[in-house]
C-alpha cells in the first residue's frame, strides 16, 4: 500500500498535533505552520498519520492510500 500525504498550509492553524504525534513525518516552522517532511511515509505509519489528520482542528492534512497492483 502506498500512502500519499498532502498538507494545506493555508488551512493550518499551528495547533501542532501532527508534529507532536508524528515528528518523523510532520514538522512546523517558527510560526507553527505545518511542514511536510515525508510525503509518502511507510505504511506502518498509517495509524499515527490518520490520528494526526483526525486531531487537526482545521483539516489541513489529507491522506490518500492506494493498494499496490500486484498483477501486471
Amino acid at each position: 500500500m502506498t500512502i500519499r500525504l498532502t498538507v494545506e498550509p493555508d488551512r493550518c492553524l499551528g495547533a501542532g498535533h501532527c508534529v507532536r504525534l508524528v515528528p518523523e513525518v510532520f514538522d512546523e516552522d517558527d510560526h507553527g505552520t505545518v511542514v511536510l517532511l515525508v510525503g509518502e511515509p511507510d505504511s506502518d505509519r498509517l495509524p499515527a498519520v490518520r490520528e494526526a489528520a483526525q486531531l487537526c482542528p482545521n483539516r489541513a492534512i489529507s491522506i490518500q492510500t492506494t493498494q499496490q497492483e500486484r498483477e501486471r
Binding site: 492553524l13 499551528g14 495547533a15 501542532g16 508534529v19 507532536r20 504525534l21 512546523e28 517558527d30 510560526h31 507553527g32 490520528e51 483526525q54 486531531l55 482542528p57 482545521n58 483539516r59
Partner: protein
C-alpha cells in the same frame, strides 16, 4: 406564534446552567440531555430557549463549522450564566480578543500570539517549568502542613510560568502574580500593567510574547490596546482553568489510588494520564455559538441565527466515542477529547497546559509520596461557574 414555540411552552425544557454536584463528574443532568438527543432544546436561566449540544460528534462538527459566529454582540448569542450578561453590553475589545472574534480578525489575532505558543517553543520550556515547579515544592515542604495546595503551589506556579512566557521583567514577577490571582477582578489592573509594559516599560521586557507584540505595535500591525488585550486574553484563559485542572487532578488521583499506583510504577504514562484527566475532568464551560447558515447536525435543523450551547464535558463522556466514559483510566488514549475545543478557536495554549500539568503532577506525587487531603473530600470547597473549580485544596503529608 409558531407550533414549535407553543410545544416548548407546554413541555418543560431542561434548564441551564446545571450544577456539578460531584467535583470529578459533569452535572448529572448532562447525561439526561444526551439521552434526549445529541442536539436538543433547553432553556437558559432567563428562560431563553436554545439548542444544547451534548454528543461528541455533534459538538465536534459544530466547532469545526465555518457557518458559526462567536461574536458576543450577536443578539441571539446564548448567555450561559448570569455573570456573562455584562459582556454583551460592554463592547470592550479587552474581553473579546481572540476568544470572541471571527475570521478574518481572529486569524490576524491568532497569528500575533501563536509564535510563542507553538508545540516546539513550548516543549523547549520543559527545563524551566521543571525548575520552577521544584522551587515551589521546596517552599511548600519547608512549611508545616496543612497547606492550601492551590495557594502555595498551583496558583503561583501557573502565574509565574505565564509571566515568563510573556517576558515580564524578572523584578516584576511577584507583582504579576499578585495581579493575576490575588485581585478579585484582574481585568482593569492587569490591562494597565500590560499597557505600561508595551509602552514605557518596553525596554525592560525580556524575550517573550509581549516583546513580540510590542514589535507588531511598532510596525503598525496592532494597536497598543489590542496588543494588551491579547496579553490579557492569554492570562485570563491560561490561569484559572489550569490551576483548577491541576487541583482537581490531585483530588481525583488521591481518590483513585490504583491509578496513582500505576503512574508511580510507570511514570512514562504521565502524558497519557494528563490527557485522560483533561477528558475526564473537562472543566471547559460556556462554549456558545450562533449559526450563520442553516446547519443540519445529528438529524436536527439548526437555523441561521439560532443560538447553541455546546456541552464539552458531556461530549467527553459520550459512550459512542469513549468506552466506559465515566471511568478514569490513565492507560487509555484520550487524545481526541474536546477539552481544548476544536476548529479555529481550539485553545492556543494547549501545549503549555499539557506540559505544566504533566510536570507539576508528576513532581508533586514523586516528591511527596505521603500527600493526602487534610479534610474529608466533601469538605473541599468548590466554585460553580463558567469554569468549575476548587475554593481551596487543603493537604498534608
Amino acid at each position: 406564534m409558531s407550533g414549535t414555540v407553543t410545544t416548548e411552552h407546554i413541555e418543560q425544557l431542561p434548564e441551564l446552567p446545571m450544577e456539578r454536584k460531584c467535583p470529578y463528574h459533569p452535572p448529572a443532568g448532562y447525561r439526561d440531555l444526551r439521552e434526549r438527543g445529541a442536539v436538543t432544546r433547553a432553556s437558559l436561566y432567563d428562560g431563553t430557549p436554545v439548542w444544547v449540544v451534548s454528543g461528541y460528534s455533534a459538538v465536534r462538527t459544530i466547532l469545526a463549522s465555518p457557518h458559526t459566529t462567536v461574536d458576543v454582540r450577536h443578539p441571539n448569542m446564548p448567555i450561559p450564566v448570569p455573570g456573562m450578561a455584562s459582556l454583551r453590553q460592554s463592547g470592550s475589545p479587552t474581553i473579546e480578543a481572540l476568544l470572541r472574534t471571527d475570521p478574518p480578525e481572529h486569524s490576524r489575532q491568532r497569528r500575533a500570539v501563536l509564535s510563542s505558543l507553538t508545540y516546539k517553543k513550548i516543549s523547549a520550556l520543559e527545563p524551566e517549568i521543571t525548575r520552577r515547579t521544584d522551587v515551589y515544592l521546596d517552599r511548600m515542604l519547608a512549611t508545616s502542613p496543612p497547606v492550601d495546595l492551590l495557594d502555595v503551589f498551583a496558583k503561583p506556579l501557573v502565574a509565574e510560568i505565564l509571566g515568563r512566557l510573556l517576558g515580564v521583567p524578572e523584578a516584576d514577577i511577584e507583582h504579576f502574580q499578585t495581579l493575576t490571582y490575588k485581585r478579585f477582578n484582574p481585568i482593569r489592573s492587569m490591562t494597565g500593567y500590560l499597557i505600561h509594559l508595551l509602552t514605557d516599560g518596553r525596554d525592560e521586557l525580556r524575550e517573550g510574547q509581549l516583546r513580540e507584540l510590542a514589535g507588531r505595535v511598532a510596525e503598525g500591525e496592532l494597536s497598543t490596546e489590542e496588543a494588551a488585550s491579547l496579553g490579557l486574553a492569554l492570562v485570563l484563559a491560561g490561569q484559572d482553568i489550569t490551576v483548577n485542572t491541576l487541583g482537581l487532578s490531585v483530588l481525583t488521583l488521591l481518590d483513585e489510588g490504583t491509578q496513582l499506583d500505576l503512574l508511580r510504577a510507570e511514570p512514562e504514562r504521565w502524558p497519557d494520564a494528563v490527557e485522560e484527566l483533561l477528558r475526564y475532568l473537562s472543566l471547559t464551560g460556556g462554549t456558545v455559538r450562533v449559526a450563520t447558515a442553516d446547519l443540519e447536525v445529528d438529524g436536527q435543523l439548526i437555523r441561521a441565527g439560532e443560538g447553541m450551547v455546546l456541552l464539552i464535558p458531556a461530549a467527553n463522556r459520550d459512550a459512542d466515542r469513549f468506552e466506559r466514559p465515566d471511568e478514569l483510566d490513565v492507560r487509555r488514549s484520550s487524545r481526541g477529547h474536546l477539552t481544548f475545543g476544536f476548529g479555529i478557536h481550539q485553545c492556543i495554549g494547549q501545549h503549555l497546559g499539557r506540559l505544566e500539568l504533566t510536570i507539576a503532577l508528576r513532581a508533586l506525587f514523586e516528591r511527596i509520596p505521603g500527600l493526602r487531603l487534610a479534610v474529608p473530600v466533601e469538605q473541599v470547597p468548590v466554585k460553580q461557574g463558567v469554569v468549575f473549580g476548587l475554593g481551596r485544596l487543603p493537604v498534608r503529608w
